[in-house]
């Protein structure tokens, strides 16, 4: 599945149709309706609505899960609990979607011609680790008395962001190397988010969790290094370097 980037077919630049472009530029496009909206109306409209808007939603209230013990997990209460659960939910959603994105990337790999810089095993290993990270977060949330099946507000926002990745990586027209750009952004975000979660765990005195999250972070660092390397190889190969 080689996708060479061809020159000449893209119709989007102005210069593609110089005659039509010249005709467009003959006319002033500024509206003269005189409706009377002030010059800063764009900003004022947005500010008014932003100030009036509520948050996308709330964090699910932890229920009591029968039989849970808190071995290795200290109880957190109040506002701290809300923030921690929200961020745990976010990471859980991200890792879970990440598994599916790697499923899609693996399909692209299988559809490709021989790629000497990456192996199927490496991709499957990353996919397995993303799954383990998701399950770690499931256990963590369960251990805190929270329901890991819920969608927290930050998980929701992460889902919105991830839709862009889904669109790029699942599109049959984007080959393996095109998808690597999206995966790189995913892994960059993932790395920073794990660091943030470790900081929160440390701040709440959750030593055991912090250790487990640090292990996950080390694996994510490896993922990032690998993806960077693959993208670099792929780009150089395409450029004939």
């Amino acid at each position: 599945m080689a996708r060479a980037q061809k020159l000449g077919l893209n119709k989007t630049p102005l210069q593609v149709h110089p005659t039509h472009a010249k005709r467009m530029l003959e006319k002033k496009s500024k509206s003269e309706t005189g409706w009377g909206e002030p010059p800063d109306a764009f900003e004022r409209y947005h500010l008014a609505l932003i100030k009036d808007s509520k948050a996308v939603g709330s964090v699910p209230i932890p229920g009591s899960v029968k039989g849970i013990a808190t071995t290795g997990i200290k109880k957190i209460t109040g506002k701290n609990q809300e923030i921690f659960l929200d961020k745990l939910g976010e990471r859980l959603a991200f890792e879970r979607s990440g598994v599916r994105l790697y499923d899609a990337l693996i399909l692209k790999y299988k559809a490709s011609e021989e790629l000497e810089y990456v192996s199927l095993k490496e991709l499957e290993d990353i996919r397995r680790e993303e799954l383990e990270h998701f399950r770690l977060l499931q256990e963590t949330m369960n251990g805190l008395g929270a329901d890991p099946t819920g969608m927290t507000p930050s998980a929701d926002l992460t889902g919105v962001m991830a839709l862009g990745f889904v669109q790029v990586i699942t599109d049959a027209r984007n080959d393996f190397s095109a998808c690597l750009e999206a995966i790189l952004i995913l892994e960059l975000a993932d790395n920073d988010a794990w660091l943030s979660l470790i900081e929160l765990s440390d701040g709440f005195g959750q030593e055991e969790l912090s250790k487990k999250f640090s292990n996950a972070f080390e694996e994510e660092e490896e993922h990032l290094l690998k993806v960077r390397s693959w993208l670099s190889h792929s780009t150089r190969k395409k450029a004939g370097l």
């Binding site: 509520k54 996308v56 039989g67 994105l101 899609a104 369960n142 927290t152 507000p153 889902g159 889904v166």
Partner: protein, 394 residues
């Protein structure tokens, strides 16, 4: 809250006003809203969409009513906007799709139980199991492509199980046409039910046709193409229940009455106070539209609209989980097929429908591929079962 459909004047048409700010106002929270509020929002968008569609086609056939219809339609347009724009931007097209199928399942099941005519009820039962299966397929898509759990939208009110397999729902058009009710002898409830269900299915079809090509995943695109085709079949099926001899004016009066009935049903069940106010306001608007329609009806048909309307407002459509009813229908009727207007055992299905679906499916059937071995689990297929989680932690 009881009221008289004919005597209540509602809000006069010239007092029905809006601003852009309120039309594109605060959406509901996808996370915090009760699923039945989302169901009401989706259905009422469909009810208004049908009002506009009907009014436009009516206008083409009755030139003398063009301006009157356009005036009523302008408010319907803005009502539809205000309702549909309650959907928040973080609710993705696929999440909204899950909401649409939940509407189809819960509302169709509710209508089936309200339906006085046994034959018409059997049509609702037949269609219900097909939308039920669509939910299962879309849930599999959401899990396997996006890594998300459809139950975050369904809130456990509706099962995620296979219904009548989408793969066998594809039928020759002759097997989608049902026998219509007879307008003079049928219970007005049946007529209201028919308009409600056609409204829901038509908007679902249009929605899938609009968003289908927005998906990048090739199987997602194919699944939407497949299910959109069934939704067109459903519109054909439900529409065919309506007596073709109903006059345009009868249909208009019934449409307006049905809109009022649906808003009334929403008012009676709505738990969100802000959105309840919208339903209350629009109930008054529809009563105002009904007054306009009845005045024209009296003038043009020289008849009393009471002849075609129920004596009193029927019991509201119940907005609650219909799980037990759906499971009963699933158990007893999932195997049925259609032959002309009747529902039959699989071996009696006409060959024309079998050949039709074999042709479409010869390169693979998306609904089968996407959901192969799919068994919904809380938190998606990737999740550890909760009981295993408990063992690990204890």
């Amino acid at each position: 809250m009881a009221f008289d459909l004919i005597k209540e004047k509602g809000t006069p048409l010239d007092k029905q006003k809006f601003t852009w700010r309120e039309l594109a106002g605060q959406p509901f929270s996808k996370l915090d809203v009760d699923a039945f509020t989302r169901i009401r929002v989706i259905l009422m968008n469909g009810i208004e969409s049908e009002a506009l569609r009907f009014s436009h086609v009516f206008s083409r056939a009755h030139g003398e009513l063009r301006e009157t219809l356009a005036r009523v339609r302008r408010t319907e347009q803005h009502q539809q906007t205000m309702i549909n724009w309650l959907n928040p931007a973080d609710q993705s097209p696929l999440e909204t799709t899950i909401g649409y199928e939940q509407v189809a399942i819960e509302v169709t099941a509710a209508l089936a139980q309200l339906e006085p005519d046994p034959y018409l009820k059997s049509i609702y039962d037949f269609g219900l199991l097909e939308d039920f299966d669509h939910m299962y397929r879309y849930s599999a898509l959401m899990d396997r492509v996006e890594g998300k759990d459809a139950n975050n939208i369904l809130q456990s009110y509706t099962d995620i199980l296979p219904g009548r397999p989408t793969a066998v729902e594809h039928r020759d058009p002759a097997d989608d046409i049902r026998n219509p009710y007879e307008k003079t002898s049928t219970d007005p409830q049946s007529k209201l039910n028919a308009i409600t269900i056609v409204s829901g299915e038509f908007q679902t079809h249009d929605y899938y046709m609009t968003i289908g090509p927005l998906f990048a995943d090739p199987l997602a695109r194919a699944l939407y193409a497949e299910i959109a085709s069934i939704e067109e079949q459903h519109v054909t099926q439900y529409e065919s229940m309506m007596d073709p001899n109903e006059t345009w004016m009868e249909r208009w009066v019934l449409h307006e009455a049905n809109e009022a009935y649906n808003y009334y049903s929403c008012v009676e069940s709505e738990s969100d106070p802000r959105i309840k106010e919208i339903w209350e306001r629009f109930l008054e608007y529809e009563l105002g539209h009904l007054q306009v329609a009845m005045d024209v009806f009296k003038e043009l048909e020289k008849r009393d609209p009471q002849e075609i309307l129920p004596d009193k407002i029927p019991a509201p459509i119940p907005y609650q989980s219909q799980r037990d009813y759906v499971r009963d229908v699933l158990e007893s009727q999932a195997h049925l097929r259609a032959k002309g207007p009747k529902f039959v055992e699989p071996e009696l299905e006409d060959r024309r429908s079998v050949k039709y679906r074999q042709q479409l499916g010869k390169d693979g059937v998306p609904s089968e591929i996407v959901a192969e071995n799919y068994d919904w689990k809380p938190g998606t297929e990737l999740a550890q079962p909760l009981d295993r989680l408990l063992e690990k932690i204890a």
